[in-house]
């Protein structure tokens, strides 16, 4: 389930400098903070689509792949640099989300099983397309920034600091958007009551489209980040999809706040399990905690309302 940030960072992935980890609590805290922020970005898009449109988007991982390869093409193939790649990855994944909604989801909105199947087929199709065009060889996306800083006894890649900072900037921006803008409140309102939203003149079609675009952009951003400290490859969307599902169910389906808290719980659990116990348990422990939480609080930690974002 985990994205193996720790393993990659420790050995220096994708042209990255030396390991960011040495040992001790500071390592756990630093790595937990960074990986969890990325997990939150991955999960928020997934929960937005479920919360607003009631769609279990199994193509969420495919959006991550699309974003990563969009960035790879612009940054590496067209040689336009890492930051241009970042912008391209986000835009391409956002457009992919919009296309998914307009071409398929909107037509099948009232058939959730069919929608789930469609998103699953899309996910497989994207994987096969990338595999056919690019082959199984992983592709490196250049790091957004190079260099390493030593913080509290931990070597910290500047690239990962950027991942953390941008992830949190996006999370906060999204929080402000949904809580303090008319468009954001319309999104929340639609998630609570589609009929109620229609009664006040909110066009749910537009809100749904916006949600798919936002979720696509977030997934694209995550794809670029993953590709920049790991690599981009045809099956890179699978683990984040499972991760999103776990985080969202743990935090409460449809809750942005729940996704952030769920991401941090899962992220720190993975880091602690890897560093303190056994890396082989990295995937198992969060799932056990998820089961325990669901047995005690089946609605997840924060229920399902986006209002609590």
């Amino acid at each position: 389930m985990g994205l193996n940030l720790l393993a990659v960072a420790a050995v220096g992935g994708a042209g990255a400098p030396a390991a960011i980890l040495q040992s001790g609590v500071s390592n756990i805290v630093v790595n937990g903070l960074i990986i969890s922020a990325l997990y939150a970005v991955v999960a928020i898009g997934f929960t937005l689509i479920f919360g607003v449109g009631g769609v279990l988007n199994l193509a969420h991982g495919a959006s991550i792949t699309v974003g990563a390869f969009g960035a790879y093409y612009v940054a590496r193939v067209f040689g336009m640099g890492a930051w241009a790649g970042l912008v391209a990855g986000v835009l391409v994944a956002a457009a992919f989300g919009a296309a998914l909604y307009l071409a398929m989801i909107r037509r099948m909105e009232d058939e959730p099983i069919m929608v789930m199947i469609l998103t699953l087929v899309t996910a497989v199709a994207v994987e096969q397309f990338v595999l056919t065009v690019e082959g199984s060889q992983p592709k490196a996306i250049p790091a957004l920034v190079g260099g390493v800083t030593r913080v509290a006894g931990t070597n910290l890649q500047h690239n990962l600091v950027v991942v953390f900072a941008v992830s949190w900037a996006i999370i906060l921006a999204l929080f402000l958007f949904v809580n303090y803008t008319d468009a954001g409140k319309a999104l929340i309102a639609t998630s609570m009551s589609r009929k109620g939203a229609a009664l006040v003149g909110i066009e749910s079609d537009r809100v749904n489209l916006a949600t798919w675009v936002i979720a696509g952009a977030l997934a694209g951003l995550a794809g670029v980040f993953l590709g920049s400290f790991q690599t981009a490859h045809w099956a890179m969307g699978r683990a984040p999809l499972v991760l999103s599902f776990t985080i969202v169910v743990l935090g409460g389906v449809g809750s942005i706040k729940g996704s952030v808290v769920g991401a941090y719980l899962i992220g720190f659990l993975e880091v602690i399990t890897t560093r303190v116990f056994d890396p082989r348990l990295q995937t198992l422990v969060p799932l056990v905690v998820l089961l325990l939480v669901l047995l005690v609080k089946p609605e997840g930690l924060f229920g399902r309302e986006l209002a609590e974002a």
């Binding site: 409140k185 609570m192 109620g196 229609a198 009664l199 006040v200 309302e305 209002a307």
Partner: protein
């Protein structure tokens, strides 16, 4: 409770009119041959027993259901416009289920009511709080934690925030305590006095008669009686079936 028994002038323009309106659910004909007119400034009530088709009719004229025949709001077919366009043009529907945003505060619910009419939102918010002082005391309370009566006030208040030209109220008294009924009754009077045309769907015939200028009785999906409250009070069938003899 105020009593109204004087129809608006017949010369007043039609706000809403239906002609041979029919609605089907699959093969079931839910509404048939509905001819209904609501003139500007009127309170028109559609009464009838549970299952008569009142909510179906309310949803149809508000743009939520497909129909055959004609339903015109301000001279244009309802079906030619989206629900959000109808809301923009002042056709505001307050549903039987209220459809509030349960995890939002009273204030947020009301402000969202002005989603299409944000320009005078503060002024209208003040008006709603004056109309329903109970809401003014609970501005930060989540809608889902309120009593049924308070939720009904909030639903009507949210509808008023949309600057209605025609307010469609579906069963606003359903399940409410008598003391709350009085508040809702006063509010409907005041809303109408402010110039808002009201289409009131009600199972509580006495309540409807006390407010309506004209009444339509709906049974099994068709209009079986229509007239002023005075005329219907004199109708044996209405008296025996709906007014307890």
């Amino acid at each position: 409770m105020a009593t109204t028994d004087a129809a608006a002038p017949e010369s007043a323009p039609d706000v809403l009119s239906t002609d041979d309106l029919r609605v089907t659910y699959g093969k079931v004909l839910a509404l048939r041959e509905i001819d209904l007119t609501v003139r500007e400034g009127e309170v028109v009530s559609v009464i009838g027993p549970n299952g008569a088709g009142k909510t179906t009719l309310a949803n149809t004229v508000s743009g939520f259901l497909d129909y055959e025949g004609s339903a015109e709001y301000r001279g244009r077919e309802v079906a030619d416009r989206s629900v959000s366009d109808l809301v923009s043009e002042g056709l505001i529907h307050c549903t039987e289920k209220r459809d509030l945003f349960g995890y939002m505060t009273v204030d947020d619910n009301l402000r969202l009511g002005a989603y299409r009419h944000g320009e005078d939102a503060d002024e209208r918010l003040e008006y709603v709080y004056d109309l329903f002082p109970a809401l003014a005391e609970r501005t930060e309370q989540n809608a889902r934690t309120m009593s049924g009566g308070e939720q009904q006030m909030l639903a009507i208040g949210r509808a008023l925030m949309g600057a209605p030209d025609l307010l469609v109220l579906d069963e606003p008294t359903l399940g409410l305590a008598p003391v709350i009924l009085e508040d809702i009754s006063d509010a409907i009077e005041e809303i109408n006095d402010e110039g808002v045309t009201v289409l009131l769907f009600e199972q509580n015939v006495t309540f409807a008669m006390n407010h309506a200028d004209r009444i339509y009785l709906l049974e099994n999906g068709e209009v079986v009686r229509e007239g002023s409250p005075g005329e219907l009070r004199g109708d044996d069938y209405i008296r025996e079936s709906y007014l307890g003899g």
